[in-house]
Symmetry: C2
């Protein structure tokens, strides 16, 4: 790729070494992987070693956002040192003719950097963006957050500057000499689907459009 087509050149931390042909460093790929996720996994270390914590995430512009309770140990640590945020979508099992050529189709993104606090109006805006991402239209129906609730919540963000994606799609890549082996070859795909909404037994309110249209 030319420099123009690849504005986010890899750093020492993000340069993909294994199957580097599957690497992508462009924002469009990165944003699409984040926007298709509700959760990320964050690696950070403290005196007890390395931790891998799942947490809800969302994107606004060139940052990935998370939130949590003010008392969260993880959120405190994330301001003190760099961490690594990873999102992975599994799209299918790749069935090759040879056992060792089996693979998976997936889309993954890794982001390195330091989280920063988001405060005041920016935190409110971030939480509203989160709700709009989760379920567009929901925000107008719910009891809005109070000053006390906002004050008890920490919102943080990490820049998407130092990031790398790895994507595998398509058919298996058997070695030439295995192509005649008489085994079916192809992809067994997965999809994440939205299934039938479950109304709270204590709820007598009619389901709004974003609920009735949820199921795919």
């Amino acid at each position: 790729m030319t420099a123009a087509a690849n504005p986010s050149a890899p750093s020492a931390r993000t340069r993909v070494r294994r199957v580097a042909t599957n690497a992508h460093y462009d924002s469009a790929t990165l944003h699409a992987i984040i926007d298709d996720a509700y959760l990320c996994h964050i690696a950070f270390s403290d005196d007890h070693g390395a931790h891998c914590i799942p947490t809800a995430c969302w994107r606004d512009g060139a940052h990935l956002y998370i939130h949590g309770s003010n008392g969260s140990r993880m959120l405190k640590r994330l301001m003190e040192r760099d961490s690594c945020v990873t999102i992975t979508h599994l799209d299918g099992l790749v069935m090759a003719r040879s056992a060792f050529s089996h693979s998976m189709n997936y889309r993954s993104a890794m982001i390195y950097g330091r989280f920063e606090l988001v405060e005041g109006d920016a935190a409110r805006h971030a939480m509203e963006t989160f709700m709009e991402k989760l379920v567009p239209g929901r925000q107008a129906d719910v009891r809005p957050g109070s000053d006390k609730e906002y004050a008890a919540t920490t919102v943080m963000r990490i820049a998407l500057d130092e990031a790398a994606c790895k994507v595998r799609t398509g058919a298996p890549n058997d070695d030439e000499e295995d192509l005649s082996w008489p085994a079916w070859a192809g992809v067994l795909p997965f999809a994440r689907v939205r299934t039938a909404p479950v109304t709270d037994p204590a709820c007598a309110i009619e389901a709004p459009d974003y609920v009735t249209r949820w199921r795919e």
Copy 2:
């Protein structure tokens, strides 16, 4: 819980502090979460800081297994220091009456410890267990791994001794004073489904049962 019902008491690293009522330390919950996964995220640190790497995983008995190329930097690091393996399944978005009571239904498992090498016949057995987990029946059809392929592959495992799960299910938990707010409340669920197999265009072999029955 009594000691008898809770054989794996939490360690300093695995004791769940946030929403501790969602914590589970029993093997049945842990095994079910691992067995429903094809991928885990592994946090470890090196001179560049913390990394969060997605990789395929499977369980055999009381260990979680991974594999990779002999040259993998991650696999080398995992033998030198403790790491944290996390698996998370997202089951739904929990719509509460108040904005800040929104949540997600999920099942997550965190495992701490040191990976150990699996070698020789045990490595072959582990890889066969992996294939059988991916697609039962597949193994008999494919070109088996050669001595050279096994020799180029590192298999590792981590004991499930120090682990904790966190599971949220069911309806939203609004505060009493929010229950009369006129918003629909309930769960918008997700499911991972198996979709139609995609045959390699270069493949003329008839699809076996495990392929024709793949789609749900």
